[in-house]
Amino acid sequence: MIPGFMIMGYIFMFTALFGSILALIQRDLMKSVILIGLEGLAVAFLYQTLRAPDVGITQAILGAALLPGIFAITVYKTRREEE
Amino acid sequence: MNYENFFVPALLVAFPLISAICLNFIHGKDRAVKGFAFLSIIVVLLLPWITQYGVYWFGGHPTVENLEGTNIMLSKLNLAIVYNFGIIQKIFIALLALLASAAILVHFTERVSGVYTAMIMLGIASASAVIMADDVFNIFVFLEILTISQAALVIAVGSVRAYKTAIKYLILGGVAGSSILLGIAILLGRYGMLNVSDLHKVITVESQVGISHALIVACALIFIGWLFESGMVPFHIIKSDVYSKARPSVGAFMQTQTKFVLVALWVIILRLFYGISTFNALILGVSILSMVFGVIMALRQTEFTRLLAYVAVAQAGLVGVGLGIATEASVSASVFHAINDALAMAILFLSASIILQITKTMDLHKMGGLLWKSGLVPLWSMLGIFAVSCMPPFNTYQSEFRIISAASQAGYPELTVIIILTSIATFVALIKGFYSIYLKEGQDYLSAKEMDRTPYSDRTEYVMLLLLAICLAIGLFPQNILQYIQQFVSSIGVI
């Protein structure tokens, strides 16, 4: 019987990978910033399933909230569409 | 309080970090910044000389003995971060502090920027941590901080070209830093430890059976990080760009950092990966390429700081040649050359700083005729050119002569030809720059009569004189430093 946290882990891996690929193929930069936040969050939960909860919390704050925030400010200050 | 054990090596890293944080906070209050900067310069200059030699264990955890009933391979295991502080480290850190204080003092005039001084302090702290640390992850952390501080010093210039250089440097630095971290992750996953001495013992035991593929991949990844930090061949363009876009006095400081980090990081990767057969040949090839390309590009430049930057890159390549030959004589000669050449290049960068103050430009086509306008500076910079291109009474002659003789003894007679031609080409490039700045005639600003009133900083000239005196002293009595370097090289134990 496969433990539940491993199923969650597979889902998070899938989310991280496809979030990153989708973020790179977006033309709209705001969408790609949101997808980067999704990827950071998925990696944070993946840290949690890999028995490193402290790193998970830090990654959730820095990688999933602060970093997309700075990216969003950058997109807001520059242009939104990729030329 | 126990004063005997107060000046530990960790203070050499901790003090500049603390002072950088304080300077950041008091940015804007000019007099406070000035006083604090002056104080921290004095302390930073003094600290290497009063720190005790020896090994420093963070947290007071020295080593643990073999645990009963477990299968730990080592008889002794370091538990925390370890710093080594010997005579070579003392020389390196003292020179770094000297050039950093020169970089601060040259711009110590009306308004002193707190953040700018803080970044130079950060540079001292990170470079001295890389020089002393015996722990792979600590080195990664401080290499990243070094990248940030160098980029910040480039940003401080404030032009769009500087921003472009800085963002290129940061992106490449981020990728190269990640490459180092991936190499560390592979080492950690395979051996479960981070201390270089412990890893050295384990890898020595393991390599009697055979070199594993994981070790080779880790070597390749950390080697790429070494290439970036030392400005070897694919990164010589961005490294010279960074030197030339920063202020010339900061350029003098940054090339010193690069040369010392090159040597320190090389010692660590050699201790880890000496078993791989093509490792030394790879370092030798990369160094020859960066030496030759650096000097060729120096010949083609029309901007004086860029010319000096490419010469600095080429001299770093010369240091790498000695390290790649990897005999005891060649390695000690090239560690000696790293020290000498950092001093000699600093003279030229500081003269560029004076020229920038006078003419406000660095383009060689727009300069000329400064010979009788700038006091005795042409004489000092001519002596500096002699020092960089390895002329006899100076210190670089001693070290380059030793590199050449070590190369021919080690069975690379072809290398000697390339090294000699490189130093000739360096001389040609620098004389070309000297001619364009001081001797060429017919520029508009000479007739405008503004030149007579343009002041330049006396302090820079004094620092140049001090550096020249050190160069001459080392050149006349090379054995005084070389004996310590030979002890250091034989203490590495794998050459």
Binding site: - | L172, V217, R300, V417, A429
Partner: protein, 96 residues
């Protein structure tokens, strides 16, 4: 070859530096081939190979302008050489 240099003189470029750089390139290529073949093959073969390399280089003169064209500050070329190096280093060290 003389004409190529003459064109560059007309464009106002510095020629003394270019000559020195060219000698450097010739020496680098021929001596580099010499060292490589001396270590991986016999000495006699190495001398022949170095001679051939010298001839090839002399036909392709002037090399300096090509080299300095590759050393541009554009980000693309930097990243290209970076990617090239990652591959080459792993191959040369004998992994994979």
């Amino acid at each position: 070859m003389y004409e190529k240099f003459f064109e560059k003189i007309k464009q106002g470029e510095d020629i003394a530096g270019a000559f020195t750089g060219d000698y450097q390139m010739i020496l680098l290529v021929s001596l580099g081939v010499l060292v490589l073949f001396r270590f991986f093959a016999s000495t006699r073969f190495a001398m022949a190979a170095a001679f051939i390399a010298l001839l090839v280089v002399l036909r392709a003169l002037p090399l300096v302008f090509k080299v300095s064209k590759e050393h541009s500050d554009t980000f693309d070329s930097m990243l290209f050489y970076f990617a090239l190096t990652i591959g080459l280093v792993i191959i040369l060290l004998g992994g994979i």
